[in-house]
Subunit: 365 residues, 2 copies
DNA sequence: CTGTTAGCGCATTCAG
DNA sequence: CTGAATGCGCTAACAG
């Protein structure tokens, strides 16, 4: 059979609709796309034929013809990660009104999967790309960037590139974390690190350090605690950091963790070891995932506007795909929210070189 | 310019490759798809031309021609939910080797978004659909099912349909939960409900009830605690359930929650109210998200093989898309894992009608 | 305003 | 084994 009749799996073509309405396919196409350029009674006729036949335009034909797929590729390190999942949600929210769909490029923390997604770009399967992974995927020496597609990064700037990005000011975040802990009276600070060499991690660590120094903390008393090889912003990374912390002879009295998950893993190790938070050690995270509201103690954290970041990134990309030149080469910074909560407090009395002035008179000059 | 030259945004076509190799486009196509049917030296020639020009077949053209998009739509209630995110990851893992990509259909707990995804199906933008939402999306009276696409459900059977599904045995899970709590000595049990009328929730509730009855619990002592209107398997639903629990005059001594998130929200309310878990009330969840390892106390739960469920669903769908008839109309049940941990224990002495025989001699007949 | 025509890029006939 | 020709379904020129 050449043309399917109605039935399961049947898909009407524009020709079917045209025949049914007694007009040409061009008229059908116009009646659907630009009804004001078609005589009203014909539009009516076409619409009836469309609904009778259950016609939905074939997407690949349309894409092939128009050279626009109305699809966006989102490359994410791990869909299972709370943070990325929420940004993804924001992206979808921002893209949907413009009629764009989302193809998910899940690297699953295994960079060898990049090739698949590079191909998506070159196969013109998508009109644009949003990166949550902090780098431009590539494979076999071919970078996704050379596909010539509009591209936006969220959560992390892309080094050595002019790819627009949207995120928070990670430097300000790191400094505020340091300030918060220092003002509570802590004089020896730890940073439970995320992935080494990652731009965001570097920004947070260096700015945390700067912030601590600015508060008069001794450089020797700002320690970086690695989470273990190959570990990302995960619970397990926090567990590893916690274990290293326990092994230290001179422990920090407060620890800023590179992510909320790290903080949560870290706190678990403390609890299991009988180290109280915040009495023995203050712990804070960053990201502001919902889960932080449900930890015990409730976690001090820096909330990124996850959903808004996604939406802003989507809108930036939409602008670029529409060829609005003002969209490209931009850098969007959204405000974060500092949530000072129960997991951070004054240092234990014996460890405090100086107690916050709000809490007690200074002991050191 | 008619044909782009190499440069940013350039995309070589099969014609470019053919010209460069000095063969016809048909030969290029064959050299790529079925190299064994082409003279080796020509294959060599083509391959060189391909890599020189950076050719990647245009996907919409190929889709239009072959009537296969090599894309699958995954409809998920909420990408931000841990559970779905992990299943999604498993799906991607299962689909990737077969060369299939994933389009994400995020309902975001707002069913009016269904229409978009119904269109994807009818527009033949995908070759198959995986449902994590427990129902078949539809809009304007048109069901996605009538698009005639292979379809599989994961995590929940679809009522009144012959759509194959993969999941755990929810009835067995509910019964085991009841048994676990009853054997610890609890004689008054609560169920913190998920979305009312949801198949899975119904299965868990009814089987929990059955299991409790089988253990000799009085029917009047099995109470369903609603999480509040419009609430899903979320933390907040657990919070609402916790508040209702506290308001009860005769509280259950153990509560089975419809999801881990519900359990975690519930536990927070208990903690804030000074009700100890498990000393005052035992709490358990179901799903087995990673987060349950990091709660305090560590949450007793029933772990669903999230990733395996996703992979199995993907493989089932692959079979259907390949027209393997044995694939359809199947129902796959994967084993779950009962994790008895610290959040469940014996009931408080004054409340116990009977203490588990492992813990103390029976007080009742 | 409407129909005819062409072609997006590819895979697959059908000849040779 | 290879090339020429065809058409997947659609939209956009171009005529009328």
């Amino acid at each position: 059979m050449r043309r399917r009749t109605a039935g399961p799996g049947a898909t009407a073509t524009i020709a079917d609709v045209a025949a049914r309405a007694g007009v040409s396919t061009a008229t059908v196409s116009r009646a659907l796309a630009t009804p004001d350029r078609v005589r009203p009674e014909l539009v009516e006729l076409v619409m009836r034929a469309v609904s009778e036949s259950g016609y939905t335009p074939n997407n690949s034909a349309r894409t092939l013809r128009t050279q626009r797929s109305r699809m966006v590729l989102v490359v994410v390190p791990s869909v299972a990660n709370q943070m990325y999942a929420h940004v993804l949600r924001g992206i979808d929210t921002g893209l949907a009104p413009a009629g764009y769909g989302v193809i998910i490029g899940n690297l699953d923390n295994a960079p060898n999967k990049e090739g698949r997604f590079v191909d998506f770009a070159f196969a013109r399967q998508v009109d644009g790309v949003i990166l949550l992974c902090g780098f431009v995927p590539g494979s076999h020496g071919r970078s996704m960037a050379s596909a010539g597609l509009p591209m936006v990064s969220i959560l992390s700037p892309i080094v050595d590139s002019d790819i627009p990005d949207v995120g928070i000011d990670d430097h300000a975040a790191g400094r505020e974390a340091a300030r918060h802990l220092a003002r509570l009276g802590h004089r020896r600070l730890g940073y439970a690190a995320g992935p080494r060499e990652h731009v965001v991690d570097t920004a947070r660590w260096t700015s945390f350090r700067e912030g601590a120094l600015a508060e008069g903390v001794d450089p020797a008393d700002i320690v970086r605690i690695e989470g273990g090889e190959g570990m990302r912003y995960t619970y397990r990374s926090g567990v590893a950091a916690g274990e290293r912390f326990l092994a230290m002879t001179r422990r920090p009295t407060a620890v800023f963790c590179g992510s909320d998950e790290i903080a949560i893993g870290f706190m678990k190790v403390m609890r299991d070891a009988g180290v109280s938070v915040p009495e023995d050690v203050s712990v804070m995270g960053i990201d502001g995932i919902e889960q932080t509201d449900y930890t015990h103690p409730v976690l001090t954290t820096i909330r990124q506007p996850r959903q808004d970041l996604g939406r802003a990134g989507a809108e930036l990309l939409l602008g670029m795909m529409d060829g609005r030149s003002d969209a490209a080469h931009r850098r969007v910074r959204l405000p974060f929210e500092f949530l000072a909560r129960a997991s951070t407090g004054a240092p234990p009395a014996e460890a405090a070189g100086r107690i916050s002035q709000d809490l007690a008179p200074a002991r050191m000059g």
